[in-house]
Amino acid sequence: MDVMPKWAEVVLIPFISLALAAILSVIVILAIGEDPIAAVKLMVSGSLGSTYGWGYTLYYATNFMFTGLAVAVAFHAGLFNIGGEGQAMLGGLGVALVCLLVPWPHWTLALFAAAVGAALFGAAWATIPAYLQAKRGSHIVITTIMFNFIAAALLNYILVNVLRPKGSMDPATERFSETVHLPSLHDLLAPFGINFSKAAPANVSLIIAVIACILVWLLIWRTALGLEIRSYGKSGRAARYAGIGSLRITMIAMLISGGLAGMMAINNVMGEAERLVLNAVEGAGFIGIAVALMGRSHPFGIFLAAILFGFLYQGGAELALWTKIPRELIVVIQALVILFTGALDNMVRMPLEHIFLAIQRSRSAKITKPVD
């Protein structure tokens, strides 16, 4: 079915899908009686106009890189991991335990241990759905949805009954010690003479997220395991025929996916809040779906899509602050992106395929003419 050239596949279709989502978003803004041009201007200046805005944009983007990669790795294995939200919640628990239970001498050690803890807890939360999918054929979408709710209840229980400091009414852990404080972009960029905003939450986790993007790219496209994962995702039956075990690939892909989603917690729990609160994930697990779809499950695409969504998130917060447009506008835009780049993909693809087919035919007709 290679009707279309590669550039159309990689650039044109996502562009048209995004344009459709953008047009509808503008219509929505107009429909609620607001000025879309002023809104976009405010979003751009609020999220990209200052290092403070950039700091928030990149902070959100860090979250979305992790969750986007998580969804993408599962996508490559033909699995839809909708449980990033729950896995990231559990990842937060892992980070909190690592930071609270061990008196870390330095943040580097703490970050390493916290990342491992977050990944382990996130992966653990993906284990049961993965096993049930591989062994029992229970649909992973349903089980991961259920596990999101179970995670929320579990975290609620643990925060209220176990980790809440005595005398506190807040369902949250106590603040982590000063030694596990992660350097922000301000601290990191100061030696280079760049004066980055001190108040913005973007931190060293951003670098880890970028490294994760590169590692996932290496894994998927440059290792034998990646080839196995991709072939299993393309056709489970063909892969099994080639000797690729479905239990093994499902488990590995889902554990990596859950681990990546969990690792988001080094950014939001350790880097920003510096304690575990009830609603720490704030839907970032679900935004990972939009990010992965928009980035076509490719780490570079995910990197760009995560920054775009970071921009939308920070811009949306600015809109809610300065105009009468509620923050939920971002949820609508997110829905439209998922709709057009995911569910209605064929709506964009089918007419384009017809066009390219027509072009090919007319070309081959020209080539064959001189012959007769």
């Binding site: 929505v28 429909a31 609620i32 009686g33 839809f80 909708i82 049961i128 049930l132 029992r136 229970s138 649909h139 979408v141 349903i142 089980t143 949805i145 259920m146 596990f147 709710f149 179970i150 209840a153 579990l154 609620n156 229980y157 209220v160 009954n161 679900f286 779906i289 779809l293 009468k324 447009i325 509620p326 939920e328 506008l329 971002i330 949820v331 609508v332 835009i333 997110q334 829905a335 439209l336 998922i338 709709l339 995911g342 569910a343 209605l344 993909d345 064929n346 709506m347 089918m350």
Partner: protein, 324 residues
């Protein structure tokens, strides 16, 4: 206080109220999934219906206008789901996710634009809500011990949508298992190619199923905002669409079992509101969080096949491509 206080009439009464939206949404999902269209957008459709029913009931003062608006909104999202998953053969799960977010965002956006009350509708007054109906002979029969009290306090005194939802159970059973349409609908969820060969439109049947799903979700949402509560608040479905989905699996895609499953989950919700009763019945505290999570845990156990395997319709989730 004893173990029997767990089955106090007031708790059972609340169970019926809380089970109603679950039941309607569960039957909605049943129609859709039996026809081979997965629908994880039940939540979003209910939410949209809840908002539009409350908004139109508030503006017109008539709850029936509200109900129609709710059903209309839900049908619109159903059409979108059908367009994405039937016409354009897209991923049904992704479409469902998109619909949930679309409803979550748009309801607040529009509510803020129309009413300026922080994403909610004004509280609904009498006439704009579904009133409780007192069934005939309540006064006479109420005097009879046990059965009379059950009739007067438990069966009587709900809004009409509760009775409609209960009526939908045999209704769904009849349509699915005793009519030609139902047979074809189930066939299209198991083996669409066979239905196509028999000269029946797969696309038409699936759109019909998705539309029925939309209507039932619309009623469920309208009940939430105009029956159970008096107005719309942000995210008021609170995961009910997913509990309905869980109930659907629990019921293994069968109408009568859907009733029992939603009553069970409704009961869990009702009992979670009364921690005092649980404590006196068992002698120890049961964590509310455990009760919240129980429907989901039970569903995972069912899915795992430990208590009888739940096998979904065979062609579920796959778009139908006519062979050429």
């Amino acid at each position: 206080m004893s173990f029997f206080s767990l089955f106090d009439l007031s708790v059972l009464d609340t169970t019926i109220r809380l089970a109603t939206p679950l039941l309607l949404a569960c039957l909605a999902g049943l129609f859709s999934e039996r026809a081979g269209i997965f629908d994880i957008g039940l939540e979003g459709k209910m939410l949209a219906a809840a908002f539009f029913s409350a908004a139109f009931a508030s503006m017109s003062g008539s709850v029936w206008v509200g109900l129609l608006a709710g059903i209309g909104a839900s049908l619109l999202l159903s059409t979108l789901h059908g367009l994405a998953s039937i016409t354009f053969r897209g991923n049904q799960l992704i479409s469902g996710v998109a619909i949930n977010f679309l409803a979550a965002g748009l309801t607040v956006l529009i509510a803020q634009s129309w009413f300026q009350q922080g994403g909610r509708t004004p509280s609904l007054l009498t006439g704009a809500r579904f009133e409780e109906i007192t069934l005939p002979f309540t006064k006479i029969l109420g005097g009879i011990p046990y059965l009379g009290r059950i009739y007067a306090e438990l069966i009587s005194g709900h809004s009409i949508l509760v009775y409609l939802a209960l009526f939908c159970v045999p209704g769904t059973w009849y349509i699915l298992f005793r009519t030609r349409f139902g047979l074809r609908l189930r066939a299209v969820g198991e083996n669409p190619a066979a239905v196509d060969t028999a000269g029946v439109s797969v696309i038409g049947l699936r759109f019909a199923a998705v539309a029925i799903c939309g209507i039932l979700c619309g009623i469920a949402g309208a009940y939430l905002a105009t029956g159970l509560q008096a107005g719309f608040v942000k995210d008021m479905t609170a995961g009910r669409g997913f509990i309905a989905l869980a109930a659907l699996i629990f019921a293994k895609w069968r109408p009568w079992h859907a009733l029992w499953a939603t009553l069970l989950f409704g009961y869990l919700q009702a009992i979670a509101l009364r921690p005092d009763i649980i404590e006196s019945a068992f002698g120890f505290k049961v964590q509310v969080q455990l009760l919240d999570a129980l429907p989901y845990i039970l569903t995972v156990v069912i899915l795992a096949g430990f208590v009888g395997k739940a096998i979904p319709p065979r062609a579920g989730g796959q778009p139908y491509v006519k062979e050429r």
